[in-house]
Symmetry: C2
Protein backbone atom coordinates (compact mmCIF):
# COMPACT_ATOMS: atom_id res chain seq x y z
CA UNK A 1 0.00 0.00 0.00
CA UNK A 2 1.40 3.38 -0.91
CA UNK A 3 2.49 5.85 1.71
CA UNK A 4 0.57 8.63 0.05
CA UNK A 5 -3.21 8.42 0.32
CA UNK A 6 -5.32 9.95 -2.41
CA UNK A 7 -7.63 12.63 -1.08
CA UNK A 8 -11.22 11.77 -1.96
CA UNK A 9 -14.19 14.05 -2.37
CA UNK A 10 -15.01 13.23 1.26
CA UNK A 11 -11.60 13.65 2.87
CA UNK A 12 -10.33 16.63 0.91
CA UNK A 13 -10.41 19.74 3.07
CA UNK A 14 -12.80 22.29 1.67
CA UNK A 15 -11.37 25.08 3.78
CA UNK A 16 -7.78 25.84 4.84
CA UNK A 17 -6.43 23.07 2.56
CA UNK A 18 -2.86 23.80 3.70
CA UNK A 19 -3.77 22.19 7.05
CA UNK A 20 -4.57 18.90 5.31
CA UNK A 21 -2.20 15.92 5.11
CA UNK A 22 -2.68 12.65 3.29
CA UNK A 23 0.48 10.68 3.98
CA UNK A 24 0.84 7.79 6.37
CA UNK A 25 4.03 9.28 7.85
CA UNK A 26 1.88 12.12 9.18
CA UNK A 27 -1.25 10.13 10.04
CA UNK A 28 0.23 7.14 11.91
CA UNK A 29 2.18 9.00 14.65
CA UNK A 30 -1.03 10.89 15.51
CA UNK A 31 -2.94 7.62 15.81
CA UNK A 32 -0.19 5.99 17.83
CA UNK A 33 0.07 8.84 20.32
CA UNK A 34 -3.65 9.06 21.11
CA UNK A 35 -5.36 6.86 23.69
CA UNK A 36 -8.88 7.08 22.36
CA UNK A 37 -10.74 7.61 19.13
CA UNK A 38 -14.27 8.85 18.53
CA UNK A 39 -16.30 6.43 16.43
CA UNK A 40 -19.13 7.91 14.39
CA UNK A 41 -21.96 5.97 12.77
CA UNK A 42 -25.58 6.61 11.91
CA UNK A 43 -28.58 4.44 12.65
CA UNK A 44 -31.75 5.46 10.82
CA UNK A 45 -30.26 8.89 10.19
CA UNK A 46 -29.36 9.49 13.84
CA UNK A 47 -25.58 9.94 14.21
CA UNK A 48 -23.77 8.62 17.27
CA UNK A 49 -20.23 9.48 18.37
CA UNK A 50 -18.75 7.08 20.91
CA UNK A 51 -15.28 7.36 22.51
CA UNK A 52 -13.33 4.13 22.72
CA UNK A 53 -9.83 2.69 22.89
CA UNK A 54 -8.16 1.50 19.72
CA UNK A 55 -4.91 0.29 18.21
CA UNK A 56 -3.21 0.33 14.86
CA UNK A 57 -1.58 -2.69 13.26
CA UNK A 58 0.14 -1.78 10.00
CA UNK A 59 -2.48 -0.20 7.76
CA UNK A 60 -5.55 -1.12 9.81
CA UNK A 61 -7.19 0.44 12.83
CA UNK A 62 -8.80 -1.88 15.36
CA UNK A 63 -11.48 -1.20 17.93
CA UNK A 64 -13.03 -3.65 20.33
CA UNK A 65 -15.61 -4.10 22.99
CA UNK A 66 -18.11 -6.48 24.45
CA UNK A 67 -19.73 -8.83 21.96
CA UNK A 68 -22.99 -7.43 23.42
CA UNK A 69 -22.08 -3.84 22.42
CA UNK A 70 -24.78 -2.19 20.33
CA UNK A 71 -22.18 -0.02 18.58
CA UNK A 72 -20.01 -2.95 17.55
CA UNK A 73 -22.98 -4.99 16.36
CA UNK A 74 -24.09 -2.11 14.21
CA UNK A 75 -20.63 -1.47 12.80
CA UNK A 76 -20.08 -5.16 12.11
CA UNK A 77 -23.14 -5.11 9.86
CA UNK A 78 -21.04 -3.14 7.38
CA UNK A 79 -22.39 0.38 7.76
CA UNK A 80 -20.26 3.41 6.99
CA UNK A 81 -18.10 4.58 9.86
CA UNK A 82 -15.95 7.61 10.62
CA UNK A 83 -13.18 7.27 13.19
CA UNK A 84 -11.63 10.50 14.41
CA UNK A 85 -8.57 10.88 16.62
CA UNK A 86 -7.65 14.27 18.09
CA UNK A 87 -4.66 15.48 20.08
CA UNK A 88 -4.85 18.95 21.62
CA UNK A 89 -1.49 20.71 21.61
CA UNK A 90 -2.22 24.21 22.79
CA UNK A 91 -4.46 27.20 23.27
CA UNK A 92 -3.76 29.99 20.82
CA UNK A 93 -4.49 33.38 22.35
CA UNK A 94 -4.72 36.16 19.79
CA UNK A 95 -5.21 39.88 20.34
CA UNK A 96 -8.73 39.71 18.94
CA UNK A 97 -11.44 37.31 20.12
CA UNK A 98 -12.05 36.36 16.48
CA UNK A 99 -8.57 34.93 15.95
CA UNK A 100 -8.43 32.73 19.05
CA UNK A 101 -7.70 29.17 18.07
CA UNK A 102 -6.23 25.87 19.21
CA UNK A 103 -3.22 23.91 18.11
CA UNK A 104 -4.16 20.31 17.42
CA UNK A 105 -3.46 17.26 15.32
CA UNK A 106 -6.42 15.22 14.15
CA UNK A 107 -7.04 12.28 11.86
CA UNK A 108 -10.30 11.33 10.19
CA UNK A 109 -10.70 7.83 8.74
CA UNK A 110 -13.72 6.86 6.64
CA UNK A 111 -14.72 3.38 5.61
CA UNK A 112 -16.53 0.23 6.60
CA UNK A 113 -15.40 -1.90 9.51
CA UNK A 114 -15.33 -5.66 9.38
CA UNK A 115 -15.62 -8.16 12.19
CA UNK A 116 -12.43 -10.07 13.02
CA UNK A 117 -13.42 -13.67 13.68
CA UNK A 118 -10.17 -15.63 13.61
CA UNK A 119 -8.98 -16.26 17.18
CA UNK A 120 -5.31 -15.65 16.41
CA UNK A 121 -6.18 -12.35 14.72
CA UNK A 122 -8.37 -11.34 17.67
CA UNK A 123 -5.60 -12.24 20.08
CA UNK A 124 -3.13 -10.18 18.04
CA UNK A 125 -5.54 -7.24 18.17
CA UNK A 126 -5.87 -7.56 21.96
CA UNK A 127 -2.09 -7.56 22.19
CA UNK A 128 -2.07 -4.36 20.12
CA UNK A 129 -4.71 -2.72 22.38
CA UNK A 130 -2.71 -3.58 25.48
CA UNK A 131 0.58 -2.42 24.00
CA UNK A 132 -1.11 0.72 22.68
CA UNK A 133 -2.14 1.67 26.22
CA UNK A 134 1.35 1.01 27.51
CA UNK A 135 4.20 -0.64 25.64
CA UNK A 136 5.70 -3.56 27.58
CA UNK A 137 2.45 -4.56 29.27
CA UNK A 138 1.49 -7.59 27.17
CA UNK A 139 4.58 -9.57 28.19
CA UNK A 140 3.60 -9.68 31.86
CA UNK A 141 -0.18 -9.86 32.01
CA UNK A 142 -2.42 -12.89 31.74
CA UNK A 143 -3.37 -13.37 28.11
CA UNK A 144 -6.99 -13.75 26.97
CA UNK A 145 -8.70 -17.09 27.34
CA UNK A 146 -10.84 -18.58 24.59
CA UNK A 147 -13.92 -17.54 26.55
CA UNK A 148 -12.68 -13.96 26.82
CA UNK A 149 -11.94 -13.84 23.10
CA UNK A 150 -15.47 -15.10 22.42
CA UNK A 151 -16.91 -12.37 24.64
CA UNK A 152 -14.93 -9.71 22.77
CA UNK A 153 -15.87 -8.24 19.42
CA UNK A 154 -12.95 -6.90 17.42
CA UNK A 155 -13.49 -4.71 14.39
CA UNK A 156 -10.95 -3.81 11.73
CA UNK A 157 -11.09 -0.62 9.68
CA UNK A 158 -8.62 -0.23 6.80
CA UNK A 159 -6.74 3.09 6.95
CA UNK A 160 -7.33 3.88 3.34
CA UNK A 161 -9.60 6.91 3.01
CA UNK A 162 -8.00 9.09 5.66
CA UNK A 163 -6.64 12.55 6.26
CA UNK A 164 -4.85 14.46 8.99
CA UNK A 165 -5.42 18.07 9.92
CA UNK A 166 -2.82 19.99 11.88
CA UNK A 167 -2.54 23.47 13.31
CA UNK A 168 0.72 24.62 14.87
CA UNK A 169 2.34 27.89 15.83
CA UNK A 170 1.29 31.20 17.29
CA UNK A 171 -1.71 33.43 16.76
CA UNK A 172 -2.24 35.21 13.44
CA UNK A 173 -3.71 38.62 14.15
CA UNK A 174 -4.98 41.36 11.90
CA UNK A 175 -2.22 43.87 11.10
CA UNK A 176 -3.84 46.72 12.99
CA UNK A 177 -4.20 44.66 16.19
CA UNK A 178 -0.46 44.08 16.73
CA UNK A 179 -0.14 47.44 18.43
CA UNK A 180 -2.67 46.50 21.11
CA UNK A 181 -1.45 46.41 24.67
CA UNK A 182 -2.51 42.77 25.23
CA UNK A 183 -0.51 39.60 25.73
CA UNK A 184 -0.68 37.07 22.90
CA UNK A 185 0.84 33.65 22.53
CA UNK A 186 0.33 29.96 23.06
CA UNK A 187 -0.36 27.88 26.16
CA UNK A 188 1.02 24.43 25.29
CA UNK A 189 -1.16 21.53 26.38
CA UNK A 190 -0.28 17.87 26.65
CA UNK A 191 -1.67 14.79 28.30
CA UNK A 192 0.35 14.33 31.45
CA UNK A 193 0.84 11.06 33.32
CA UNK A 194 1.03 11.43 37.10
CA UNK A 195 2.66 8.95 39.48
CA UNK A 196 1.06 5.51 39.21
CA UNK A 197 -1.41 4.49 41.94
CA UNK A 198 -1.15 0.94 43.24
CA UNK A 199 -4.30 -1.18 43.09
CA UNK A 200 -5.75 -1.48 46.63
CA UNK A 201 -5.47 -5.23 46.35
CA UNK A 202 -1.87 -5.23 45.10
CA UNK A 203 0.16 -8.03 46.65
CA UNK A 204 2.79 -6.66 49.03
CA UNK A 205 6.24 -6.33 47.54
CA UNK A 206 5.24 -5.92 43.90
CA UNK A 207 6.96 -2.80 42.60
CA UNK A 208 5.91 -0.46 39.80
CA UNK A 209 7.64 -1.74 36.65
CA UNK A 210 9.97 0.56 34.73
CA UNK A 211 7.76 0.71 31.66
CA UNK A 212 5.03 2.16 33.91
CA UNK A 213 7.25 4.64 35.78
CA UNK A 214 8.78 5.83 32.51
CA UNK A 215 5.45 6.07 30.82
CA UNK A 216 5.04 9.80 30.75
CA UNK A 217 8.44 10.36 29.14
CA UNK A 218 7.77 7.66 26.56
CA UNK A 219 4.46 9.03 25.45
CA UNK A 220 4.92 12.73 25.23
CA UNK A 221 6.50 13.38 21.91
CA UNK B 1 -35.79 23.12 32.70
CA UNK B 2 -35.35 20.33 35.21
CA UNK B 3 -31.96 19.27 36.48
CA UNK B 4 -32.73 15.65 35.80
CA UNK B 5 -32.86 14.63 32.13
CA UNK B 6 -35.07 11.76 31.11
CA UNK B 7 -33.09 8.96 29.50
CA UNK B 8 -34.50 8.25 26.06
CA UNK B 9 -34.34 5.09 24.03
CA UNK B 10 -31.28 6.60 22.35
CA UNK B 11 -29.35 7.86 25.37
CA UNK B 12 -30.08 5.04 27.82
CA UNK B 13 -27.01 2.87 28.26
CA UNK B 14 -27.66 -0.61 27.06
CA UNK B 15 -24.61 -2.00 28.83
CA UNK B 16 -23.09 -1.15 32.22
CA UNK B 17 -26.05 1.11 33.09
CA UNK B 18 -24.45 2.01 36.42
CA UNK B 19 -21.92 4.11 34.46
CA UNK B 20 -24.74 6.26 33.06
CA UNK B 21 -25.74 9.66 34.45
CA UNK B 22 -28.58 11.89 33.37
CA UNK B 23 -28.37 14.94 35.62
CA UNK B 24 -27.06 18.35 34.66
CA UNK B 25 -24.91 18.52 37.81
CA UNK B 26 -22.88 15.64 36.40
CA UNK B 27 -22.99 16.61 32.73
CA UNK B 28 -22.12 20.34 32.88
CA UNK B 29 -18.78 20.14 34.74
CA UNK B 30 -17.58 17.62 32.13
CA UNK B 31 -18.57 19.98 29.31
CA UNK B 32 -17.00 22.96 31.05
CA UNK B 33 -13.68 21.23 31.67
CA UNK B 34 -13.17 20.01 28.10
CA UNK B 35 -11.61 22.15 25.37
CA UNK B 36 -13.06 20.37 22.38
CA UNK B 37 -16.06 18.32 21.40
CA UNK B 38 -16.49 15.84 18.56
CA UNK B 39 -19.43 16.70 16.34
CA UNK B 40 -21.08 13.81 14.49
CA UNK B 41 -23.47 14.12 11.58
CA UNK B 42 -24.35 12.07 8.52
CA UNK B 43 -24.62 13.21 4.93
CA UNK B 44 -26.25 10.70 2.59
CA UNK B 45 -25.56 7.94 5.12
CA UNK B 46 -21.86 8.79 5.47
CA UNK B 47 -21.07 9.76 9.08
CA UNK B 48 -18.50 12.46 9.82
CA UNK B 49 -16.89 13.20 13.19
CA UNK B 50 -15.20 16.59 13.41
CA UNK B 51 -13.34 17.99 16.44
CA UNK B 52 -14.08 21.60 17.28
CA UNK B 53 -14.13 24.12 20.10
CA UNK B 54 -17.37 24.84 21.90
CA UNK B 55 -18.93 26.57 24.87
CA UNK B 56 -21.94 26.12 27.09
CA UNK B 57 -24.33 28.91 28.03
CA UNK B 58 -26.93 27.73 30.52
CA UNK B 59 -28.71 24.76 28.93
CA UNK B 60 -27.35 25.15 25.41
CA UNK B 61 -24.11 24.09 23.77
CA UNK B 62 -22.65 26.37 21.11
CA UNK B 63 -20.23 25.60 18.32
CA UNK B 64 -18.93 27.98 15.71
CA UNK B 65 -16.79 28.28 12.65
CA UNK B 66 -16.44 30.01 9.34
CA UNK B 67 -19.68 30.82 7.59
CA UNK B 68 -18.11 28.89 4.69
CA UNK B 69 -17.77 25.71 6.77
CA UNK B 70 -19.38 22.69 5.14
CA UNK B 71 -20.07 21.11 8.52
CA UNK B 72 -21.85 24.17 9.89
CA UNK B 73 -23.90 24.65 6.74
CA UNK B 74 -25.03 21.05 6.94
CA UNK B 75 -25.85 21.24 10.63
CA UNK B 76 -27.70 24.52 10.17
CA UNK B 77 -30.03 22.78 7.74
CA UNK B 78 -31.53 21.00 10.74
CA UNK B 79 -30.09 17.50 10.45
CA UNK B 80 -29.62 15.28 13.47
CA UNK B 81 -26.38 15.81 15.32
CA UNK B 82 -24.46 14.04 18.09
CA UNK B 83 -21.95 16.04 20.11
CA UNK B 84 -19.58 14.03 22.29
CA UNK B 85 -17.15 15.38 24.85
CA UNK B 86 -14.55 13.10 26.45
CA UNK B 87 -12.03 13.61 29.24
CA UNK B 88 -9.42 10.91 29.79
CA UNK B 89 -8.57 10.47 33.46
CA UNK B 90 -6.34 7.44 33.58
CA UNK B 91 -5.04 4.16 32.27
CA UNK B 92 -6.34 1.18 34.21
CA UNK B 93 -3.81 -1.64 34.22
CA UNK B 94 -5.29 -4.96 35.30
CA UNK B 95 -3.56 -8.27 35.83
CA UNK B 96 -5.20 -9.72 32.74
CA UNK B 97 -5.13 -8.15 29.27
CA UNK B 98 -8.92 -8.58 29.09
CA UNK B 99 -9.62 -6.28 32.05
CA UNK B 100 -7.45 -3.36 30.95
CA UNK B 101 -9.52 -0.23 30.77
CA UNK B 102 -9.45 3.55 30.98
CA UNK B 103 -10.91 6.01 33.42
CA UNK B 104 -12.85 8.69 31.61
CA UNK B 105 -15.80 11.04 31.76
CA UNK B 106 -17.82 11.51 28.60
CA UNK B 107 -21.02 13.26 27.58
CA UNK B 108 -23.16 12.51 24.56
CA UNK B 109 -25.74 15.08 23.42
CA UNK B 110 -28.26 14.31 20.68
CA UNK B 111 -30.50 16.78 18.92
CA UNK B 112 -30.76 19.27 16.11
CA UNK B 113 -28.67 22.42 16.00
CA UNK B 114 -30.06 25.78 14.98
CA UNK B 115 -28.29 28.74 13.46
CA UNK B 116 -27.91 31.77 15.73
CA UNK B 117 -28.58 34.85 13.60
CA UNK B 118 -29.07 37.69 16.09
CA UNK B 119 -25.83 39.71 16.35
CA UNK B 120 -26.06 40.15 20.13
CA UNK B 121 -26.59 36.43 20.60
CA UNK B 122 -23.65 35.65 18.29
CA UNK B 123 -21.47 38.10 20.18
CA UNK B 124 -22.50 36.50 23.47
CA UNK B 125 -21.57 33.09 22.05
CA UNK B 126 -18.15 34.38 20.94
CA UNK B 127 -17.65 35.71 24.45
CA UNK B 128 -18.48 32.25 25.79
CA UNK B 129 -16.02 30.56 23.39
CA UNK B 130 -13.24 32.92 24.43
CA UNK B 131 -14.00 32.56 28.14
CA UNK B 132 -14.30 28.80 27.72
CA UNK B 133 -10.75 28.64 26.38
CA UNK B 134 -9.47 30.79 29.21
CA UNK B 135 -11.56 32.70 31.75
CA UNK B 136 -10.61 36.37 31.92
CA UNK B 137 -9.62 36.67 28.28
CA UNK B 138 -12.70 38.43 26.88
CA UNK B 139 -12.16 41.54 28.98
CA UNK B 140 -8.84 42.39 27.38
CA UNK B 141 -9.05 41.31 23.75
CA UNK B 142 -10.50 43.19 20.82
CA UNK B 143 -14.15 42.23 20.44
CA UNK B 144 -15.64 41.00 17.15
CA UNK B 145 -16.56 43.53 14.50
CA UNK B 146 -19.82 43.33 12.58
CA UNK B 147 -17.87 41.93 9.62
CA UNK B 148 -16.30 39.23 11.78
CA UNK B 149 -19.70 38.29 13.20
CA UNK B 150 -21.04 38.01 9.66
CA UNK B 151 -18.15 35.74 8.70
CA UNK B 152 -18.85 33.48 11.68
CA UNK B 153 -21.56 30.86 11.85
CA UNK B 154 -22.76 30.05 15.37
CA UNK B 155 -24.89 27.01 16.07
CA UNK B 156 -26.88 26.28 19.21
CA UNK B 157 -27.72 22.78 20.39
CA UNK B 158 -30.12 22.43 23.35
CA UNK B 159 -28.70 20.15 26.06
CA UNK B 160 -31.87 18.16 26.41
CA UNK B 161 -31.33 14.60 25.24
CA UNK B 162 -27.98 13.96 26.90
CA UNK B 163 -26.14 11.51 29.08
CA UNK B 164 -22.79 11.21 30.82
CA UNK B 165 -20.75 8.05 31.18
CA UNK B 166 -18.05 7.81 33.81
CA UNK B 167 -15.49 5.20 34.84
CA UNK B 168 -13.39 5.75 37.93
CA UNK B 169 -11.25 3.65 40.23
CA UNK B 170 -8.83 0.77 39.95
CA UNK B 171 -8.83 -2.40 37.89
CA UNK B 172 -11.36 -5.15 38.51
CA UNK B 173 -9.66 -8.49 38.01
CA UNK B 174 -10.96 -12.01 38.03
CA UNK B 175 -10.63 -13.56 41.50
CA UNK B 176 -8.02 -16.11 40.49
CA UNK B 177 -5.75 -13.44 38.95
CA UNK B 178 -5.13 -11.49 42.18
CA UNK B 179 -2.36 -13.89 43.16
CA UNK B 180 -0.37 -13.10 40.01
CA UNK B 181 3.03 -11.55 40.46
CA UNK B 182 2.24 -8.51 38.30
CA UNK B 183 1.78 -4.85 39.16
CA UNK B 184 -1.74 -3.49 38.77
CA UNK B 185 -3.13 -0.02 39.29
CA UNK B 186 -3.93 3.25 37.61
CA UNK B 187 -1.78 5.78 35.77
CA UNK B 188 -3.65 9.08 36.22
CA UNK B 189 -3.78 11.25 33.12
CA UNK B 190 -4.71 14.90 32.82
CA UNK B 191 -4.32 17.67 30.31
CA UNK B 192 -1.37 19.71 31.49
CA UNK B 193 -0.68 23.34 30.62
CA UNK B 194 3.01 24.18 30.21
CA UNK B 195 4.53 27.65 30.57
CA UNK B 196 2.98 30.11 28.10
CA UNK B 197 5.01 30.98 24.99
CA UNK B 198 5.06 34.62 23.93
CA UNK B 199 3.95 35.41 20.39
CA UNK B 200 7.05 36.24 18.30
CA UNK B 201 5.54 39.59 17.50
CA UNK B 202 4.66 40.45 21.10
CA UNK B 203 5.32 44.10 21.88
CA UNK B 204 8.24 44.47 24.31
CA UNK B 205 7.22 44.90 27.92
CA UNK B 206 3.85 43.12 27.79
CA UNK B 207 3.83 40.55 30.55
CA UNK B 208 1.91 37.29 30.78
CA UNK B 209 -1.34 38.08 32.60
CA UNK B 210 -2.18 36.27 35.83
CA UNK B 211 -5.18 34.47 34.37
CA UNK B 212 -2.80 32.90 31.83
CA UNK B 213 -0.02 31.99 34.30
CA UNK B 214 -2.55 30.49 36.68
CA UNK B 215 -4.34 28.64 33.93
CA UNK B 216 -3.18 25.15 34.67
CA UNK B 217 -4.22 25.34 38.32
CA UNK B 218 -7.60 26.76 37.38
CA UNK B 219 -8.45 24.11 34.85
CA UNK B 220 -7.37 20.89 36.41
CA UNK B 221 -10.15 19.88 38.72
Amino acid sequence: MSVQLNPTEKTRLKRLPKRGHFDRHTIYPILDEAFICHVGFAIEGQPYVIPTGFARIDDDLYIHGSAASRMLRNLASGIDVCVTVTLIDGLVLARSAFHHSMNYRSVVILGKAELVTDFDDKNRALEAFTEHIIPGRWAEVRWPTELELKATSVLKLPIDEASAKIRTGGPIDDDEDYTMNVWAGVIPLSLHAAAPINDEKLTDGIRVPDYVSNHSQNRES
